[in-house]
Symmetry: C2
Subunit: 217 residues, 2 copies
Amino acid sequence: MITEKARPEILSLIRQHYPQLAERNLQDAIADEGTIMHFKAGSLIMDFGAYVKIMPLIIKGSIKVSREDEEGNELFLYYLKPGETCSMSFTCCLMDKKSEIRTVAEEDTTLIGIPTRFMDEWMSRYPSWKNFVMTSYDNRMLELVRTIDSIAFKKMDERLMDYLEQKAEANDSRTLNATHQEIAYDLNASREAISRLLKQLEKDGVVQLGRNRIELL
Amino acid sequence: MITEKARPEILSLIRQHYPQLAERNLQDAIADEGTIMHFKAGSLIMDFGAYVKIMPLIIKGSIKVSREDEEGNELFLYYLKPGETCSMSFTCCLMDKKSEIRTVAEEDTTLIGIPTRFMDEWMSRYPSWKNFVMTSYDNRMLELVRTIDSIAFKKMDERLMDYLEQKAEANDSRTLNATHQEIAYDLNASREAISRLLKQLEKDGVVQLGRNRIELL
DNA sequence: CGGTTATTGTGATGTTCGTCACTGCGGGCC
DNA sequence: GGCCCGCAGTGACGAACATCACAATAACCG
């Protein structure tokens, strides 16, 4: 992970990716207090149980958010993309609580990290910040409900297709690099089941498979 | 549903059930704008797709929150109890969006309804209101993540036990009135499966079954 | 190039439900 | 009492995976 302070650059990035944060004073505050951070694809940004110290405003790339239970079962929840933030971090900040989720850089990712101590103050001071935070919450909530729908109501083949589509979008590419085992972990399924379903999808002409590679057609 | 304006009573209820909303001005505002509402057990408070017009502060009873997909599959999410509010309503208000959930009174329930147009203004004006809203969001988020854990990682017998425990708590009674079919709907399972699992739980000495009645031991 | 390791394919078998087709039971109501 | 009807119990069968045990490739590396 590489960090840098770069006031003018932050200003420009915010204006470009977060136009809804329109107040000049807020933009200045972000430029003053924020830090540009770079994460390499695959690097762990925040693990379960970690105390969150920054709130990320994502600029470039994408972040995979997932959940793990006590026994180590893992489950993919959703991706965060540029223009979005992690609402989970948000409450962790305010409440000084441990993280319930894990975040990993899906691609090479750039974000502006805001130290948590400003969250609360800005909520009262800048209406557009308040709206941004509330909207983020709402979007994440919706994302979680959709995840619930998916797990509760859909069968594995459909969940798999949804997953592949989401991953393709997060990576801006219809050709995905992933092993069947990794996918199985994300969907909390067995590798064999995923292999067989992928084979079926290939037979159906929906994907093309290679070693470590899945191409969506 | 019965509603009433009752300024002094609202003041007293708020102080009793929402001590964290400590600001006098806020309490006055709630008393001025809020309405006491009563719902009979089983009555529908808000359906899918409805536009939310009030935010409920629950005083007495409990509310069942559930989700339904396009094909009509239903799934129980969580209960709301006194001292809590429905964060989902909250964003619906702000964004003027349709509801993603259904809420039904589990017991006879009393709540204070706050018209949605005050939500936003109060957020900026009263820090304790802002904190209350943020905390509610966080709690609901956590509740959703726990629901995901339950569906994704647990088998039906464990989910059933969890469900019964939650229902017992919501109803303040270890003796529940419900048909196997109703439970099956809430867990998105088949009646037969629930019947068999309950029978097994009875054999294990965990519950005692009767017609329309389940007693937790 | 050969050997090692990561990845994928495949068959056999078991478990957890879902579905279907009934039976039995209990309570209310004519 | 006899009749319904909603609820609960039950057996048979199948579908959707999980699990286990390997075989078959493909990549990688000294």
